[in-house]
């Protein structure tokens, strides 16, 4: 006989859920609060890297509130778990955009691609600081995307230049072999066009070694590395792929000093486990490195000491935490800049914030005032350039901590500009968009 009671109660639960879903009012952001949706991944295969970033992001928003908000406007925020999955990211976007979302920062190249289609229609800007499509630096085509502080082509170029410096000059790279061990996804494939371009120009041999996501199986990849004996290996991984790569490199005896990771492969979760085994491994530092400066002290004092810290206090100052701080700061500065034009002390709409992000002028003085001295270089965006800065440094793992091992290196605009423009033009042709007119740029 059918057990009706438990079944009926389950059915009732689902039905009430459906009813509630249908009638749940889109919670209106209070008229006086700026709403920041926070897309995070605190579970799943990429959680170890997603958690410190999310904590940094939320801590900065709390810090701004503790200091009085953005010219008096308080920030409200809501986290949404995406698990690095594109469809969950889209669902979070749909749910949170109705609350007056100021800006979205998906922290996933896959979700970025999907949201790039939707954001222009909903008029909400996307900040993809250090990830996303490299060609979205061209604001003439990508009106609503802001890959602030660097894209993957910048990253790849800086790495090539750094290796060139180590060899004693870019011309010494001729005849060398560089292997790219990359995450087999749009994220991992991003640097390939630039590396191919540079290899043609400088005469080094580029070897591509894809690793199937999520990257736990790399034995054959590193056996191939051992066979081919490349002079340098570039690592473009995320999540567990990074530490696995370092462990496999150790297991096959490839010198870690010859490995260079992108800024998403150069954080504490990637090397902590491997410890001494990763000693000498180099990675890009997007602008900031590890370590504490004035903004961290402020966060500790105004947020953590009041018991409001999102994560553990020891995490403050780690690489990904600081990146989260930086990304949140860029969003808040965009709002601040928009307020300068559209009314100080008012809540800004997505369109207004977009203008703010397009006209960022964060010089060193402003950055120092915000507490980012020594952490970042100036960023200034414009209609044509949504990236704002193309500098990066390299830091090396000493076995216990990250230490800077190079000066600031600027990516070569001669190579990047034409590539970005060509790719952006191709996108515009595919989507049948026209480039923005100068009048549109002024608005």
């Amino acid at each position: 006989m059918l057990k009706f009671k438990p079944l009926a109660s389950a059915a009732l639960l689902v039905a009430s859920g459906l009813a509630a879903l249908a009638t749940a009012p889109a919670a209106f952001a209070q008229a006086k609060e700026q709403f920041f949706p926070v897309l995070v991944y605190r579970t799943g295969a990429y959680a170890p890297n997603g958690v410190p970033f999310a904590n940094g992001y939320v801590d900065y928003l709390k810090l701004v509130n503790a200091k009085g908000g953005i010219n008096g406007v308080k920030i409200s925020f809501e986290e949404c778990e995406t698990g690095y999955a594109t469809d969950k990211g889209v669902e979070c976007y749909e749910r949170l955009k109705g609350k007056g979302a100021t800006v979205f920062q998906p922290l996933s190249t896959g979700i970025t691609f999907a949201l790039t289609e939707k954001a222009p229609i909903d008029k909400i800007p996307l900040i993809t600081a250090g990830y996303g499509r490299s060609e979205s630096a061209d604001g003439g085509v990508f009106k609503w995307n802001f890959p602030l502080a660097g894209t993957y082509w910048v990253a790849a170029d800086v790495l090539v230049q750094n290796i060139g410096q180590k060899e004693g000059g870019l011309d010494k790279l001729k005849g060398k072999k560089i292997a790219l061990v990359y995450h087999d996804s749009p994220y991992g494939k991003e640097p390939i066009p630039l590396l191919t371009e540079r290899s043609k120009q400088l005469g080094f041999e580029l070897q591509l070694l894809p690793v199937t996501a999520p990257g736990v199986e790399q034995k054959s990849t590193w056996l191939q590395v051992r066979q081919n004996k490349p002079d340098y290996v570039l690592l473009w991984g995320w999540g567990v792929m990074n530490s696995t790569a370092l462990k496999e490199a150790q297991a096959t005896g490839y010198p870690r000093e010859k490995m260079y990771g992108v800024w998403w492969s150069g954080a504490e979760p990637d090397v902590k486990d491997v410890g001494e085994g990763a000693k000498g491994y180099n990675a890009l530092a997007m602008q900031h490195g590890a370590g504490r400066s004035k903004v961290h002290t402020e966060v500790l004092k105004l947020v953590h000491e009041k018991g409001q810290g999102t994560g553990p206090a020891e995490e403050v100052g780690t690489v990904l935490y600081t990146r989260g701080l930086m990304s949140a700061m860029l969003g808040v500065e965009g709002v601040k800049r928009a307020q300068e034009r559209y009314g100080k002390g008012k809540v800004m709409t997505g369109e207004q914030v977009r203008w703010g992000l397009e006209n960022l002028a964060l010089d060193q003085a402003k950055l120092d005032a915000l507490g980012f001295a020594g952490v970042m270089r100036p960023i200034s965006t414009s209609c044509a350039d949504h990236m704002g800065a193309n500098w990066a440094r390299v830091h090396t793992w000493s076995g216990k901590a990250w230490q800077f091992s190079s000066d600031w290196i600027e990516a070569d605009a001669q190579i990047l500009k034409p590539m970005v423009k060509a790719a952006a033009d191709k996108y515009a042709a595919e989507k049948k968009l026209t480039r923005r007119t100068p009048e549109d740029c002024q608005s």
Binding site: A47, Q224, T244
Partner: protein, 309 residues
Amino acid sequence: MGFFLETFFGGLMAGMLYSLIALGFVLIFKASGVFNFAQGAMVLFAALAMARFAEWVPHWLGTDSKLLANGIAFVLAMACMVAVAWLIERLCLSKLVNQEPIALLMATLGITYFLDGFGQMLFGSDIYKIDVGLPKDPMFLFEQTFPGGVLISQEDLAAAVIAAALVAVLALFFQKTSTGRALRAVADDHQAAQSIGIPLSRIWVIVWSVAGFAALVAGIIWGSKLGVQFSLSQVALKALPVVILGGLTSVPGAIIGGLIIGVGEKLSEVYLGPSLGGGIEIWFAYVMALLFLLFRPQGLFGEKIIDRV
């Protein structure tokens, strides 16, 4: 030639590692007829338990001895797996006894989701370390014969030895002990076993616990190699071709299948991969298993399915 040997040995050892996980599948299928898709989640859960207990035990007891910490953590993790086995038997299996295999398969998938969430809730989502003293540096053999020597990963070699030992222990357990005999009886015919007084639910708890033990050993080895983290459960997907190649009901099949798949995978990736752009490992393993199945539809050593019309 040296490199070929390197790849070959690497494949053999990788295959043994897959066999470790495949053993769990085979054990459960043999004794209860359930294809346990949750094996990957069990490996992850066991590894998480081991890693976290090994971290917490020194705090609780105030000792510094790694050996003691690992030993106690092992016992505690095993206790967790037995508890999980008992719960699964109580809440799922006994209620789904006569259902079609696909319903049971789906139930194990449901258990996978549950264990994923439960494990991460209890133990956290970070990457955790398991350190049981497995050597990390490589070993180079035959350096005179081949330039650069033949690389053998010491960690993998140790893991292969442990896997072989585990299989030997399990084989002894099944052949020589009375519980093992009871398990074989249940695998043969549930009703006949029940009619001679073998308590079915207790047997199933034992089987799932033994599979839990296999999962724990696999979890420790893989966790020590890769770090304990969510993606560990995906490794089970790599062990599936081993299971179907060897046959769902055969323990030696799991080993032989593992060796074949391991070698095939690595050789294909290293020699065939570059011409196809790389990354072909995982589907190649499945295609290999598929091709074998076309000749022997129940795997190399599996029991033939006899249809009554």
